[in-house]
Subunit: 239 residues, 2 copies
C-alpha cells in the first residue's frame, strides 16, 4: 500500500468515527423529540398541566441539542474536508436536525394549547382526533428515525406515504370541528385551541416526511424534496 | 455597519467569485419570494383568482431555486474546502435558503385560501388586518434580505425586534376574529380561512427573523437562534 493510501485510509477512518458519533447524537435528539410529541399529546388529552409544563421546559434541551449537533456538523466538515457522498451525508444530517427541532417546536405549541384549555375549560370535541392523529404522526417520527438509523429506504418511503393519510385525517377532523363550532358558538375559542393542536400534528407529519427525504438523499444522492411520490418510488426501486 | 469588506477578503480568489455568485442567487430567490408574499396578499384582498393561481405556479420556481442553491453550496464546500468563517458563511446561506423556501410555502398557502374564499364568498372581516400585517411582514422580508446583502447587523436586529410587534398584531387580530365568529356563526368557515392566512403571515415574520439570525451568525460567528433579544443586542454592540 502506498503512503498516500495509508493516509487516505486514516482520514476516512477518522471520518467514520466522527460520523458514528454524529449519528448517535442525532438519535439521542430524535428520541427526546419523539417523547416530546407523545408527552404533549398526553398532556392535552389527559389535561395534565405538569406534563405540559415539562414539555415546554424540555424544548430548551431540544434547542440546545440542535445547536450542538449543528456545530458538530460544521466542525466535521472543516476538520475532515469530506467530499462527494461523505459531505452529502453531513449536510443532510444538519438538515434533519433542523426538522427535529421544528417537531420539538410544534410539540411545545401543543403543550401551550393544553395549558390554555386547562384555563378555559375542556373543549367539547376533538380529543379523539388529537389522540388518533397524534399516535399516527408519533409513529411516523419513530419510523423516520429508524429509517435514518438503518438507512432503510423502504421504510423511509412508507413514512412518506403515511403523510398523505395524515393529511386526509387532518382535513376530516377539521371539517367536523367547523360543523360543531357552528352548532355551539360558545365553544368556538376552545375548539380553535384543538384546531391549532391538529395543525401542529399535521406539521409534525410533514417534518417526519422531510426527514425521510433527507435519508433518501443521504443514500441515493438525489434530492426528492419537491418530487412526486411516484418519482421517489422509482428512484428507490432502481437500487 | 459595513462588515462586508472584512468578509469578502478571502485567501482564495476563486472562493470569492463563488461566494459572490452564491450571494447573487440568494438575492434573486429572495426577490422572487418577496414578490410571492406581496402577490399572495394582494390576490386575497382583491379577490384576484388569476394572481392567486400565479402565486401557486411560481412556488415551483421557488422550490427549484432552493434545490439549485443548495447544490451550489455543497459544490462550493467540496471544491474549495473552506474552513472557519468561510465555511460558516456557506452553511448559513444554505439555512437562509431553507427559510426563503418556507416563506414561499406560506405564500402558497395564502393563495390557496384566497381561492377558497373566492369559492365560498368573501369573509365579512379580517381583510384590513391581512393587508396591514401582510405589508408589515413583507417589509421584514425585504429588510432581512437587505441586511444579508450588506451584512448589516443593525438592520438585522431591527427586523428581529419587528417580529415581536407582528406577534402582537397577530394576536389582536385573532381575538377580534374569534369575537366576530361568535356573533355570526354562519361566517365561521370563511373567517377560519382568514385566520389561516394571518397564521401564515405570522410564520413569514418568524422566517424573516430566522434569516436575520443567520446573518448575525455569518458576521459574528455566534448562533443566536434561541437567544433572547437582549443577549443578541449585546453581541451586536460588541462589534
Amino acid at each position: 500500500m502506498a503512503n498516500s493510501d495509508v493516509h487516505l485510509q486514516h482520514i476516512s477512518q477518522q471520518f467514520n468515527v466522527d460520523l458514528r458519533e454524529l449519528r448517535n447524537h442525532v438519535l439521542v435528539m430524535g428520541g427526546l423529540v419523539e417523547k416530546q410529541v407523545a408527552d404533549a399529546v398526553e398532556a392535552l388529552v389527559r389535561g395534565d398541566s405538569e406534563l405540559a409544563e415539562m414539555v415546554r421546559q424540555n424544548d430548551n434541551d431540544v434547542d440546545k441539542l440542535e445547536l450542538t449537533i449543528d456545530e458538530e456538523c460544521t466542525r466535521v466538515i472543516a476538520k475532515r474536508q469530506p467530499t462527494a457522498s461523505d459531505l452529502r451525508l453531513v449536510v443532510a444530517i444538519a438538515k434533519m436536525v433542523n426538522d427535529l427541532e421544528r417537531i420539538g417546536d410544534e410539540s411545545e405549541k401543543i403543550a401551550k394549547n393544553a395549558l390554555q384549555l386547562l384555563e378555559e375549560g375542556e373543549a367539547p370535541r376533538g380529543y379523539v382526533e388529537v389522540r388518533h392523529i397524534g399516535s399516527h404522526v408519533g409513529k411516523m417520527v419513530h419510523d423516520a428515525l429508524d429509517a435514518f438509523a438503518r438507512f432503510d429506504l423502504d421504510l423511509a418511503f412508507e413514512v412518506m406515504k403515511e403523510d398523505k393519510s395524515v393529511d386526509i385525517e387532518y382535513k376530516t377532523a377539521m371539517r367536523s370541528l367547523v360543523t360543531f363550532m357552528m352548532e355551539d358558538p360558545r365553544s368556538i375559542s376552545r375548539i380553535l385551541s384543538v384546531m391549532w393542536v391538529l395543525r401542529a400534528l399535521e406539521r409534525i407529519g410533514d417534518h417526519a416526511r422531510n426527514i425521510c427525504e433527507h435519508v433518501i438523499f443521504m443514500v441515493k444522492g438525489k434530492d426528492v424534496r419537491h418530487a412526486s411520490l411516484e418519482k421517489t418510488e422509482k428512484l428507490i426501486e432502481r437500487s
